[in-house]
Structures are given as structure tokens and as C-alpha cells.
Symmetry: C2
Subunit: 202 residues, 2 copies
């Protein structure tokens, strides 16, 4: 049995949980909550960066971050299922994953600005710098939404998790200006039960 250290609201943990479901590996993974803000939580010994998700393998090895875990799960499921092996498709998928991980990184910095700092210590310029990354990326994706494979690839999984995180933490404000991404999101949600199953309800 593998153990996934995770927090239920983590979009990067959601990537792992959706991938595990798509690959038929969900029953091989036990989820254990981790509190990255608690210095006594063992997660900091499992990943010295103190970040989730972390996958604990049988035998004591640990894997992180989400990209590495997704590739490992794809590998033990036989390979080529959520990371295409054909080079053009592979690098399109990896590029989309990097783009949407970047949206998540910027979104988390926006969230942390409010969580870590008193109101008078929050920097509007910094918040706008992060918001602009997301605005530009969503504009690119809206102009040319990616395909949605029968088994979604790592890029498509990450896009779904990025849109879901904007719904969770930013009240879905992305939706108004991005009707094609809304349609893409809805198609993903309709076809992938793990997306609804991993939705965090605050």
C-alpha cells in the first residue's frame, strides 16, 4: 500500500488523486492528511520542502512533487496512459501541465498573500503581477482550448484542477470571460467522476 500525504483542498494533491483514479490505482493508495503549517507534522521529514503532495512508497522511499508522482503512477500502470509516449503529444501534454502548474503557483501566492500577511502588509503590485500571469494564460487557453483525451493526460488533468482551484478560492470569477473553458471544464467534469469526487467543499 502506498500512502499519499495530502490536504483535501490542495490542487496538486487533486492532480494525484484524479490520476490514481484514471489509472485504476486508487485502491493502492491510502490518503493521510498532512498539515504543512505544523512544524511537528511528519510531512517535513518526508519532503524537506514541507510541501504536499508526497507519495510514500512501500520500502520507505518518498516521491514528490505532483509531476513526479503522476509520472510514477503512469509508470506503474504500464506507461503511456496519462503521459503520451509519442513525442509531439508528450511535449504538448507536458507543456500544458507546466502552464497550468504555473497558474496554480500564481494562485497559491495570491492566497498566501492574504493568509500570511496582515491587510496593511499586502502588496497590490505583487497581487496584480500574479493575477496577470493567470489572465494571460487563460486568454491563451480560451483562444485555443486543448483537446480532451479519452483518458485525460497530465496537462488536461492539471487544467481541470487549475479551473477547479479558481472556483474554490476565487469564486469562479474566471468563468464570465472564458465560455470555451467553461465548456471544457464541464466536459471534463461530466466524463471524469474523480473530478467531482475530489472536489473540496469548504
Amino acid at each position: 500500500m502506498m500512502i499519499l500525504r495530502n490536504s483535501p483542498a490542495s490542487p496538486f494533491g487533486r492532480k494525484v488523486r484524479i490520476a490514481a483514479s484514471l489509472l485504476g490505482l486508487a485502491d493502492k493508495i491510502t490518503i493521510e492528511a498532512a498539515d504543512t503549517s505544523n512544524p511537528a507534522d511528519t510531512v517535513r521529514r518526508q519532503n524537506p520542502l514541507g510541501k504536499i503532495p508526497v507519495l510514500l512508497l512501500e520500502g520507505g522511499r518518498t516521491l514528490f512533487d505532483s509531476r513526479v508522482i503522476l509520472e510514477y503512477l503512469d509508470h506503474i500502470a504500464g506507461g503511456g496512459r496519462i503521459i503520451p509516449t509519442e513525442p509531439h503529444a508528450r511535449f504538448e501534454a507536458l507543456r500544458l501541465q507546466a502552464m497550468c502548474d504555473g497558474v496554480l503557483d500564481a494562485s497559491i501566492l495570491q492566497v498566501y498573500e492574504g493568509r500570511f500577511r496582515a491587510a496593511d502588509m499586502q502588496d497590490q503590485k505583487w497581487l496584480e503581477y500574479q493575477a496577470d500571469k493567470i489572465t494571460r494564460t487563460f486568454a491563451v487557453l480560451e483562444a485555443n482550448p486543448p483537446p480532451l483525451d479519452a483518458t485525460p493526460n497530465v496537462g488536461q488533468i492539471t487544467l481541470a484542477c487549475a479551473l477547479g482551484y479558481r472556483d474554490l478560492r476565487f469564486a469562479g470569477t474566471w468563468r464570465g470571460a472564458h465560455p470555451r473553458l467553461v465548456a471544457w471544464h464541464d466536459a471534463f467534469a461530466a466524463r471524469i467522476p474523480a473530478f467531482a469526487e475530489t472536489k473540496f467543499i469548504p
Copy 2:
């Protein structure tokens, strides 16, 4: 000819430049400076996240981030040279890369805290939160330094760039408490000419 949009001080760009050298691809890549802080720079159209490095392929496709570019360069060089194909070695390399990319992400947040914010807007708790990630990760690496392959893998390349970035931006304060990492750094520098060649001199 491929084009690498980069900034000479970028540790992630340094990963790409060292990989290109190791793989014999340096003469296939032209480096063009990018200013991610300038809204008019074309880099924001090449990568909507506005981050470097970005690799522009012949035919107009773009690739980012550094992990994706390193995998692409390994692929066009024949595969398996800086990303091992044997699974155990592969995931060790990818995990080390993730760990050292995490050190770089935390380091860059430390730098940005000073670059973006007035002194009275800088948050010591946030800076310590980032510093603690680096302290814990370097302690793990000092206790058990990774091997250094004849052709360094992506994890080893990233560790060298992380140590180099701590030298560049943090006056090498990591060195005192980490003699085994100093020895590892010096072995890398002695064997890999591209490391010195890509050192940024402010």
C-alpha cells in the same frame, strides 16, 4: 536553430544551458535575452506566465518550463542521457530535480520579497518560512549527498544550479554548515566546464 529566451542570472535558464552543453546541443540554440519585468517584451507572448526560460522551436512551437525543456533536449539528443530510463534511477533523478527546483522557488521568493516590496512591507515570517524549506533540504542533502554521474542527470544539474544561486544571491552562506555539499559542488564544477561558463557575474 532553436532560440532560448533567458536572463543571464536565471538558475532555471542555467539548467537549460548546462543541459544543452552536456548533450552537444549548445550550437543549435541561440540565446536571446528576455526581460520578464517589461510588459512589452515578447516573452509574455511566448509563455503567457511571463517566465523564463522559454525554448522556441523551429516552426513556432514554444516549450517551458525548465523541466520540460530539459526533457525535450534529452529527447532530441537520443534520450536517456540526462534523464535515466531505468525506473529507479529515473525517479531518483526526477525527485532530486523537484527538491532542488523547490529550493530555487523558495530562494526566488526570498529575492522577490526584497525586490518587489518596500522594507516596511517585507514579512519576516514569510522569509523564514522560505528559509526553513532550504535549511531542511540542504540538511537532507548534506547527510546523504547524491552521486555525480559521468553525465550529470537533471537532478544533479539542478542541485548544482541551486548551490550556484545560493552563492550568487545569498553570498554562499550555505557553505559553512555543508562541507560535503561544498565538495559535491566543487567536483561538479571541476568536471563540467559549462558550470563555470554559465556563471553569472553581477
